[in-house]
Symmetry: C2
Subunit: 411 residues, 2 copies
């Protein structure tokens, strides 16, 4: 009998009614003749409530105790979902991350799964039970409870699918699948039937919130077929897998955008070794993640260095940079949050050298000025003025034929 | 260094402010030079909230899943208390029941502690940490989470004190200690400095809600000195121990009463073997707990049988009994909930035969009619009309010199 791992996020189990709906969906899968393992997150905003409680007792709570606290959220969900499934007459058991044998390293609040001891899981499946597993959590070798960090339930599901050699890992979410771009922005964005792990990784790290990047990495390493689909209907979603059977001749798979990018420019940086290190090491030491980096050489001995980072870290980065420019002898630093990053992603790009030119050409047609360019093997990102972001995305969707030619485009 | 186990109930950790107050109290004990293990219950009404959620998803939730659900309540408390203590600058760690090595049988919702593997606890204490343990929960040999049932945190605390050979187990509560009778009824009830386990057991089972009876049994078996005291002040409370040092010449320690007793009478029961069994076995099969039983023999071949039980089970018991009397050939059954049970308790009674007579004499002086009498080695209970309960308790407090001769009596 084939094993199917299903994962439902916090919004899918937000209240008793939602939980009952998920219970029906799980039972349906079981009755189709599969063995089912279901991973769930904490109910709706229960995690926020717990974080709020922690802040009331301590300004700076220890990460170990935060993990102890937050892991209760998923434990509540799994027990309630098990009760709801039991009420439908199916044998079922809930397991915490530790009980499910999910062993992690000891990095509290963002632990990584090291190993899964699946004997308990297999025993319960063999007894004909649906097994409900708490996402987002595991246990260290010292028997301490850890959490996997943001979106960790996706990783739990994919890791369990790998350990159990599941036929597929279904990630249920509030969207129908992975789109060529954000359907909230571009109404006729096209749903992709399949996508490769690498494409999904680029899309995820570029702001598409469908799947946690670490879960995709895990899927890629262990060759777990991931099906991203809606919990509100029975439509097929998007399959993430190594070879994109149907669409491997498609060069560009999607267009991503990020309106939270901030551009920093450091002026008149002395042209000597170690200067770039001084800047980016100092930012890294403060846990500030820098995204695109471009250095513009000019005549003479002074350069400008430009980079982008997330708006949430803008103030801190600016404070840090004001100290750094004194140290390295640069003239000034400015930051500009009126920008947006627009990216095209596609595994086919590696062998299609004209893609970048096509992209720049399309943007030029719309008189969109490109302020910064950054490329990887399967991605090209550009920085544009924020008010031109939407126009750029629509143009690229057209250019690379990524729109859905369906009734949707009339909306 | 001596180990002190402290237990704080749900009302002591009801919100962030309460948790900070408990944190101060725990740190205070540590700074006096003790090793401290603190057991806490779930916050205030959080357990009720979880039960409510369970009812929304299932009419008849499985007990295993209920334990999975309810055990999260204590896990929230321990992590928050650990954070609050950490904020005060003391090294601290929280442990769930399973992490603290509390092994139970597999009777979900009312599991019994079978063993405590205290190696983790001892390691953390040796490292100078305050250890916060989740009350009310443990783990089976199959790695399933269990709860100990109502008041289980008291049992957790006493069991840990036994396993760690603690100097004392302090139970913090919202009363100052154990009183000779309910101070809400009798203003000048006297606080006892010490009481024996047996006396405490009788008082607890007679309705005094200070300590969970199973925790007292555990204390008696493992000779754990239990200090019942207030979390709102630093007054000495009541010590529960084997030999009541100061008061072992006191015959009667306290007066308990229970206004929730209901009296059943079965009339004209045929006088043949097996009839009593038919009645009480049938009630036991329906999980109806019978308290006092008295059979009144009369001339000829028909008897009356009288017994008491809790009002919560009155309707069901009456339904059951109406069937039973047909089966055994009795004439009728009646029930009367206008009664109250009044009891005197004291280890000294065993060697003081006149106590019962003194009790009946005192009640007669007040013209209180005794409807039923039941006795044990250290307890005498009588059933009286409900409106005479208070008068009976006051009289017995006077008779056995159990009042506080203090300013309190003026209130």
């Amino acid at each position: 009998m084939s094993i199917i791992v299903q994962k439902f996020g916090g919004s899918s189990v937000a209240d008793a009614e939602c939980i009952k709906r998920v219970a029906n969906r799980v039972v349906e899968t079981k009755r189709k003749g599969h063995q089912v393992v279901t991973v769930v997150s904490a109910m709706g905003d229960s995690t926020d409530h717990l974080i709020d409680l922690a802040k009331q007792v301590s300004k700076n709570p220890s990460v170990r105790e935060m993990d102890m606290l937050l892991s209760t959220g998923e434990q509540v969900s799994i027990s309630l979902l098990a009760m709801a499934i039991h009420a439908l007459g199916e044998p079922v058991i809930s397991l915490t991350g530790p009980q499910a044998g999910i062993k992690t390293d000891g990095v509290f609040s963002k632990a990584r799964i090291m190993d899964i001891t699946s004997s308990r899981l297999e025993k319960e499946l063999d007894e004909g039970k649906i097994v409900i597993v708490a996402g987002f959590q595991g246990i260290t070798i010292d028997n301490d409870i850890t959490t996997l960090g943001r979106g960790g339930s996706d990783t739990t599901a994919v890791a369990l699918a790998a350990a159990l050699k599941a036929e597929i890992c279904e990630i249920y979410t509030d969207v129908d699948g992975v789109y060529t771009t954000d359907p909230r922005l571009v109404k006729n964005a096209k749903k992709l039937n399949t996508i490769t792990y690498d494409e999904m990784l680029e899309l995820a790290s570029l702001g598409a919130q469908v799947l946690q990047p670490r879960s995709v990495e895990f899927g890629k390493i262990h060759k777990v077929k991931i099906h991203v689909r809606s919990s509100f209907n029975h439509e097929e979603g998007t399959i993430v897998q190594e070879v994109s059977d149907m669409e491997n001749d498609i060069v560009v798979s999607g267009v991503a955008f990020d309106k939270k990018s901030v551009r920093f420019t450091v002026y008149d940086v002395p042209d000597r070794p170690g200067v770039a290190k001084d800047i980016f090491k100092t930012l890294a030491d403060k846990s500030i993640n820098v995204d695109m980096i471009v250095q513009i050489s000019r005549e003479g001995s002074l350069n400008d260095i430009t980079f982008t980072l997330d708006r949430d870290q803008m103030e801190e980065a600016l404070r840090v940079m004001k100290e750094v420019i004194v140290k390295i002898g640069a003239k000034d630093v400015t930051c500009d949050d009126d920008v947006a990053k627009v990216s095209i992603v596609g595994a086919g790009m590696i062998t299609n050298f004209g893609v970048a030119a096509d992209m720049f050409d399309a943007l030029a047609e719309e008189k969109i000025n490109i302020e910064l360019i950054s490329t990887s093997e399967i991605k090209i990102s550009v920085l544009v003025r924020k008010d031109q972001c939407e126009k750029a995305v629509r143009k690229l969707i057209d250019k690379f034929d990524l729109a859905e030619d369906s009734i949707k485009s009339i909306e």
